[in-house]
């Protein structure tokens, strides 16, 4: 019986949790990550210590692995294409292309019938001024590429000066998104198998702090109609992308209960961490099942719950969390608690 090896590009906490889920299903794992002794490598069979674009590292990954996946959406698309010549790479490179550029992402979402905020491409300072005028002087200006956890963003309220803002965000292609008068934020974690089957975990309600996810609560305070709309959007998106694996889709919920897609993450997602505590099959196992061509797992939750991220010095709260009943504590093996750094999470069953 030969074991299948799954290559994982990226060695952070998502890769770590994927590696443990893979191990429980008898897969071996190999992590490609420039930082030695990274969180994922600590629980994986092997690590290639190299950059995500190193040609010989990519060749070694393709040679050593049967299937290749990734834990973050900024994997270079060229690397994914190159690997895909040798081995199955899931999710497909198309998902990376769409998710890496906020403009492409919104255009793709609209193209498959999923509403987003109104938006304008902003390629220079004049374009910014024109776009702001379209939106009554307000909106969120974001870099099209490489933004995450609230980084690379600037908020404009009516009357704010636009002077120098294009340069301030690095002089790179930007997108201005109109404000969405949302009531709450929710997300759905969905999966599509190699056979085209699609399943969704229950919708979570998310609260962000300083642009970083703070809590995910399940169930979300939404109507069955809204829940159904989130699932329907996941169906359209995953089918449209020919997707394989787990995806996270974040939405704004409007006062009338309708949904506006905010962004997608073609990977396991922080707002799905609760599944490890409240479902038999976690999002991590679901992703491994999907990319390995196994049947997708059931998504029913056995308990209501709240997942709370431990960011930076929140790690000091661990002793208190460990003393709480019904609380699963999950830490990431990171030695340095920098501000804004995700150190772990806790999920309290209700």
């Amino acid at each position: 019986m030969t074991q299948t090896t799954i290559g994982i590009i990226g060695g952070g906490q998502l890769g770590r949790m994927l590696a443990m889920a893979a191990a429980r299903l008898n897969f071996r794992t190999m992590i490609l990550e420039p930082q030695a002794d990274c969180p994922a490598a600590q629980v994986a069979n092997r690590q290639i210590v190299a950059s995500y674009t190193d040609p010989s590292a990519l060749a070694e990954l393709a040679r050593s692995c049967d299937i290749i996946t990734y834990e973050f959406e900024n994997v270079p698309v060229e690397a994914a294409h190159k690997l895909a010549e040798e081995r199955p790479v899931f999710p497909p490179a198309k998902a990376l292309e769409v998710a890496q550029d906020r403009l492409t992402e919104k255009q793709f979402l609209n193209g498959v019938g999923i509403p987003t905020a109104d938006f304008r491409a902003v390629d220079n300072q004049d374009g910014l001024v024109a776009a702001l005028a379209d939106f009554g002087g307000q909106g969120v200006l974001k870099t099209r590429r490489m933004g995450y956890d609230g980084k690379g963003q600037k908020v404009f309220r009516a009357g704010d000066a636009a002077d120098g803002a294009f340069a301030e965000l690095g002089g790179v292609p930007l997108i201005l998104e109109s404000f969405v008068p949302f009531e709450r934020e929710v997300s759905v974690i969905a999966a599509r198998g190699t056979d085209g089957s699609i399943v969704c975990f229950d919708v979570a309600e998310n609260v962000h702090r300083n642009g970083i996810l703070h809590t995910s609560t399940v169930p979300a305070r939404i109507t069955p109609t809204t829940e159904q709309a989130a699932r329907a959007a996941a169906d359209k998106l995953l089918s449209g992308l020919g997707y394989v694996g787990v995806i996270g889709i974040e939405f704004f919920v409007l006062p009338d209960g309708s949904l506006i897609a905010n962004e997608i993450a073609p990977r396991v997602h922080n707002s799905g961490h609760w599944t490890e505590a409240a479902c038999v099959v976690s999002q991590f196992e679901q992703h491994i099942r999907a990319v390995a061509g196994l049947p997708l797992g059931a998504t029913e939750r056995h308990s209501d719950c709240v997942m709370t991220n431990l960011i930076g010095n929140d790690i000091a709260d661990v002793p208190a969390w460990l003393s709480r009943t019904n609380t699963l504590v999950h830490l990431y093996g990171k030695t340095e608690a920098r501000p804004g750094r995700k150190m772990g999470h806790v999920t309290e069953l209700k």
Copy 2:
């Protein structure tokens, strides 16, 4: 923030599950195991490939780890004593001494007020004949040391000849145990912290096949009085041993509901695997919490369940198990499915 390293002696599936539980609590793990690339090492930070008695390997383990524990009860007691001179070793060596010898074990259990089957030490063929005569010609003859999963045992029914039986079991010290007319088998998984606090998971009902655990079902079909008796026995045993860590205690349930202790395992136990699916804190995390001096976790189960072992070729049933709702599949990373070998387990929530 320096991470604490936990040394684990033994690299099988129990060490593997301990290592993953340790990782989730930010501990690093180092496995001592002669078989390279063993199940535990695949998910641990490091492995020392050496025998459990290799002096330089033990010295390295003590030097590299902050706390040392083990995943099987046949760790040489001398090794445990030697390590304990350098580092905390939990469970204490006393537990190994008691558990490694069926005679010592029964004497210790009786000494703390826990009933066992009647027994006789058997040191030669004449002793066997005399002991059988005491028990009406029947009973179970077992090696005092190194037996597990039904190995090193011989059953005598009334009228069976004893000729040559002492030699047949290797000419080593034996014990004859009287038959217990039991109605069912149950076990309790208990834990004692460094502060002396003791908690128990719910009692599981166990079914064995060919001397190997086949299923554990929770709840067991026992009365609250019997459940309480199992917990009380765990209290006596753990206090009596000055124990730290998780222990498994197997009992026979008599028709009147009273309990006879069968054997103890000073480690996480196969009949506690269900806890990873039905409790927030698994027996593996509980053991790590205990040996690391963290508060013990709550033991309430959120679901009823049945754990089924996958032995040898049962591994072929995995595709079917993966398609079942509410079933957690957990495999051990073993490449060769030998008869009687534990390859994985599944827990179905009810």
